[in-house]
């Protein structure tokens, strides 16, 4: 599973792409992925909302995740 990180999410994780391999078989939904990110990178807990896209489509927490899915984490950005 490939997770692309945008905006502040990239700054929190420290890179623009996170590869999650076999050991993360419990990541079955977008909601579970969000909880995993908050556990592993506590700064995600400070974000009141961020959008998640699965295979280029906006996804709510109940959307299931598959091993070959491409996921994007998209926090709001404000700069202008």
């Amino acid at each position: 599973m490939d997770v692309l990180l945008f905006g502040i999410a990239k700054d929190i994780v420290g890179e623009s792409r996170l590869r999650l391999e076999g050991e993360h078989e419990d990541l079955l939904s977008v909601g579970q992925l969000k909880r995993f990110l908050k556990r592993k990178f506590p700064e995600f807990s400070n974000l009141s909302s961020f959008a998640v896209a699965v295979n280029s489509e906006y996804a709510e927490d109940d959307v299931p995740l598959g091993r070959n899915d491409e996921i994007a984490i998209i926090p709001p950005v404000s700069g202008g």
């Binding site: 400070n46 906006y58 709001p76 950005v77 404000s78 700069g79 202008g80």
Partner: protein, 357 residues
């Protein structure tokens, strides 16, 4: 001016004199005359958009010049709107230009936006973005969104022909301190130029009907690898049901806290031993910090509170004073016996910082 002025675009088969006529009749409001607003208004003006409104209450400062390329050294200290109108008028005297040297507020937003066909959100803060969204939904006007972070940008067209809105993508406004601004995080000069040009392109498409408007799609641009990613999203009907603006769009955590001005703090800091916590991230701290300050990033505050021990007051500082304000509000709940004082205006307003940057 003569008919050759727009000939290079009117000979385009899919644009033609009809497209040009639509531009001439269009009324576009650009909110923000900064990094994004400059390319947006420059191109819309050059291409022949008939009526342009500009909203901004800022003055030109030296740190704007690397990305706000309409302004020059001699403009420093002048009103952005006034300078922009003068230069845009020299660029195209046929455009009807109106300046609003004010910030967009709950009092003036509906009144100003009502006069225009559409809005370009070239602002630089969340309260203005949510205000533009809600006002445009109420008035049923489309708006072209653009925003940036570091080397990246986002572009979309919201509220276009009953399409999704900003709130369908990001339901609630982030709290202060969650997302750093350009001021805190930095921005490469050309990024707003690129993102603003994407916004200008979408504006032209909305006006003339050519191509496929970026509605229901968020464009993500990354300058470092020149990648463009499009994300599809849908309308949530309840977000179109807005009937009135909220009473305030200010960040909701503005509880009053004890505070000292940055220059006064700087004086105090240089003359006696004060305890000061810097709540910015480690990388910001490493790039610049005052001597004798301790770095406890805001995100780690609750777990590291026991590291703070002082007999006197504890001063709290960040880049602009927003995160430190929030930290003081949190800290005095967690440790009520200590006096915490916010350094208002933060590091941006210290002489030691200003002379260096």
């Amino acid at each position: 001016m003569n008919s050759t002025r727009y000939s290079r675009q009117t000979i385009l088969k899919d644009f033609g004199p009809v497209g040009q006529e639509k531009l001439a009749r269009a009324k576009v409001l650009v909110v923000g005359a900064g990094g994004l607003g400059v390319p947006v208004m420059t191109y819309l003006n050059a291409m022949g958009v008939g009526t342009l409104g500009l909203v901004d209450n800022d003055i030109v400062s030296a740190s704007n010049l690397h990305r706000q390329v309409l302004y020059g050294e001699s403009d420093i200290g002048k009103s952005k709107v006034a300078v922009a109108i003068e230069k845009l008028n020299a660029q195209n005297s046929e455009t009807l230009l109106t300046g609003y040297p004010t910030f967009l507020t709950t009092e003036n937003a509906l009144e100003i936006i009502r006069e225009y066909d559409m809005v370009v959100d070239a602002s630089d803060n969340f309260p203005t973005r949510y205000l533009i969204n809600d006002a445009c939904v109420i008035l049923k006007k489309p708006f072209v969104y653009g925003a940036l972070h570091g080397f990246e940008g986002q572009v979309s067209v919201f509220n276009f022909q009953q399409g999704p809105t900003y709130r369908c993508l990001f339901k609630n406004m982030p709290r202060p301190a969650e997302i750093p601004s350009c001021e805190e995080n930095g921005v490469l000069g050309i990024i707003p130029g690129i993102v603003g040009n994407f916004q200008a392109m979408e504006t032209i498409k909305v006006i003339t009907g050519i191509g496929e408007v970026l509605s229901g799609k968020l464009l993500l641009y990354n300058g470092l690898d020149q990648s463009l990613t499009k994300i599809k999203f849908s309308r949530l009907n309840k977000n179109l049901d807005i009937e009135a603006l909220k009473s305030t769009y200010d960040f909701d955590c503005q509880v009053p806290v004890s505070a000292i001005g940055a220059p006064e703090f700087e004086l105090l800091h240089s003359s006696e031993d004060v305890v000061c916590i810097d709540v910015r991230t480690r990388s910001e701290f490493n790039a610049f910090h005052l001597p004798k300050t301790v770095n406890i990033p805001l995100a780690e505050m609750e777990t590291r509170i026991n590291e703070i021990s002082a007999n006197g007051p504890v001063y709290v500082i960040c880049q602009s004073g927003v995160r430190s304000h929030q930290a003081v509000a949190t800290l005095r709940e967690l440790q009520p016996k200590t006096t915490f004082i916010n350094v208002k205006g933060g590091i941006n307003n210290l002489n030691a910082y200003a002379t260096k940057y």
